[in-house]
Symmetry: C2
Subunit: 351 residues, 2 copies
């Protein structure tokens, strides 16, 4: 902030505000200045905010809107720098064009300065406590997936199974689900972004299950593929190729490596099996308070892996009209390589 | 658009894109010009987009990012107006500061012009088909709430009950849930924004249930309060006051009236019972593809109700440390007044 001559910073993105303050409400705005910081929220969160934020961080309840409250508090937050044309940083990836206009109208005397990815980069390297939360979510997912498999039978629909898995996750203690659970069977397992449908499972289907739990606010994200009945050779072969690609990608994970190289390792392995054109998405992404966060693990990523990053590694191959396989695990980037924290066996299991 | 000298319009908000094109994917960007329009999306949605959008609307799959694809397509979409300094409108309430910068960098020769609420206003007045979808969601909610009440027993936790209700909604055909279901019991029913907790229900608790189903993409939103065991007099009285306030608000609903007057009617009724300071939120909001949309039904709203608006009417009163009541129904604004489409009885029911 000193480098950019910013006297204050405004954070509006819920996951960033939670990371910086502990506040878990859906509407909170953090103002940070050289000597004073404070959280702006509304009356619904008065009690909760006071309990969640650190001692000494004031909670400012807005009446007529958060922008007006930010405007009213800004002189105090900026302190002696206020009004001399020094800047206030804001999250340019999160603030809308209209909100920026309103902030500028409310406080025209300061220079509003967009900042991209500042808190997101801090968030990408996890503390031990954060890793433990992701691990708890991952273990909860492992257990619930195992218990859920009894329900995966001929005739059950994708939508029923997704509802069943989510229900079990929540009864087991997951804070909701990390994202909309995918259950996609048969040819639909080849759709790279399938919403669970009313299609009933049939003998011989590949059944792709992609889901995440949430614990202490942190997400897990795992994909496994099962076969309803004995797999045919093409199904075994497809699964074997994707598993090999995932292994190749996992072996490249270490601090300092370009994230694109992890993606590249998966792609090379699939290329050897003639499947690379059936792998359309990226090989992974960071997880944490959000299910997609930094770093990006794609061919075009400019990120480098760093110690404490927690990422998914999830190559896939999708044969249109037949079926698809994706295998996804969550890993912590450690000095010695990847520590895999999702424990569910990766073999193609017959149900 | 002619008024603003805009040669094209870019819609980026998923609910707006769905409204205008039928596309239900999570990532779609609509470009509309004087003669050509098209939907920009990614490979995941190639097949789905082609099935969902109207014949004649091309689907453009982006490789290197949607902004680059928009930039590449813009000259064709703008036609003869391209490059002469005429404007391209974009949704200033939805586009981030950073995305605007990127669009300007990619196509500096056009004037990018923020537009607020254009599609949202179109969306606020529902067609018969849209009302039917909301009605289906509301009826599904009515049925599922009734079947769910068997589970509301002493010892069950708020979180278990919320999971149970969501599970039943989905098995009954709801497309997920419209928002995070609230089950809040005892003193927690007085928290204006309670996440379901691990607190077990106790005899004498007020139990507040606020939930929504989704059908054909459209949301319902209903709140009812129950009493575990025979209600005490303060509970009956609180419920009676809120019901009276809701009735007063419902009676004001008609085309042409200021939405603030509906809120005001609820507030006046609560004032007569000495409860107005315990009613902190607004009296309602529009529902549709999103669970909160136009019009706003608050004291500060500048909206007028119009025929075809679908809104919630949901006054509440919350006694800290004791319990709260909110009664919420969904209504269509008709020439003759409010048509209530949520059917579940509003009386304080003893469980």
């Amino acid at each position: 902030m000193a480098e950019r001559e910013l006297a204050a910073f405004l954070s509006v993105h819920p996951a960033n505000v939670r990371y910086l303050t502990g506040f878990t409400g859906s509407s909170g705005f953090l103002l940070v200045g050289p000597e004073v910081a404070g959280l702006v929220t509304d009356f619904r969160y008065r009690e909760q905010a006071s309990e969640e934020v650190p001692d000494g961080l004031p909670v400012w309840i807005h009446g007529d809107g958060w922008r007006e409250e930010v405007a009213a508090r800004l002189p105090d937050v900026m302190g002696e720098d206020a009004g001399d044309g020094s800047g206030v940083g804001f999250e340019s990836d999160r603030v809308t064009v209209r909100d920026r206009e309103r902030l500028e109208d409310a406080v025209p005397e300061v220079r509003w300065s967009g900042v991209s990815g500042l808190v997101e980069e801090l968030r990408s390297r996890k503390s031990d406590d954060e890793v433990e939360r992701i691990r708890r979510a991952a273990r909860l997912g492992d257990r619930v997936l195992e218990s859920f498999l009894d329900e995966v039978v001929e005739g059950a629909t994708e939508a029923e199974l997704a509802a069943e898995l989510d229900y079990r996750l929540r009864l087991a203690g997951s804070e909701g689900v990390a994202f909309e659970t995918i259950v996609a069977a048969g040819p639909r397992s080849a759709l790279p972004h399938a919403s669970p449908s009313g299609r009933p499972l049939r003998e011989g289907d590949l059944v792709l299950v992609d889901f995440g739990a949430r614990s202490g606010g942190y997400c897990s994200d795992m994909t496994r593929v099962f076969c309803l009945g004995a797999p045919e050779e093409w199904q075994r072969s497809l699964h074997r190729s994707v598993l090999r690609a995932q292994q190749a990608a996992l072996e490249r994970v270490e601090p300092g490596i370009e994230a694109a190289a992890v993606d590249g390792a998966a792609r090379e392995a699939l290329e050897e099996d003639g499947l690379v054109e059936h792998f359309g998405h990226s090989a992974g992404h960071g997880i944490g308070l959000e299910v997609h966060e930094e770093p990006s693990v794609s061919a075009r990523s400019e990120d480098r892996l760093r110690e404490g990053h927690v990422i998914t590694v999830e190559p896939g191959a999708y044969l249109e009209g037949r079926g698809g396989v994706r295998i996804e695990d969550d890993v912590v980037v450690r000095p010695g390589g990847a520590e895999v924290i999702t424990g569910f066996p990766r073999e193609l299991r017959e149900l």
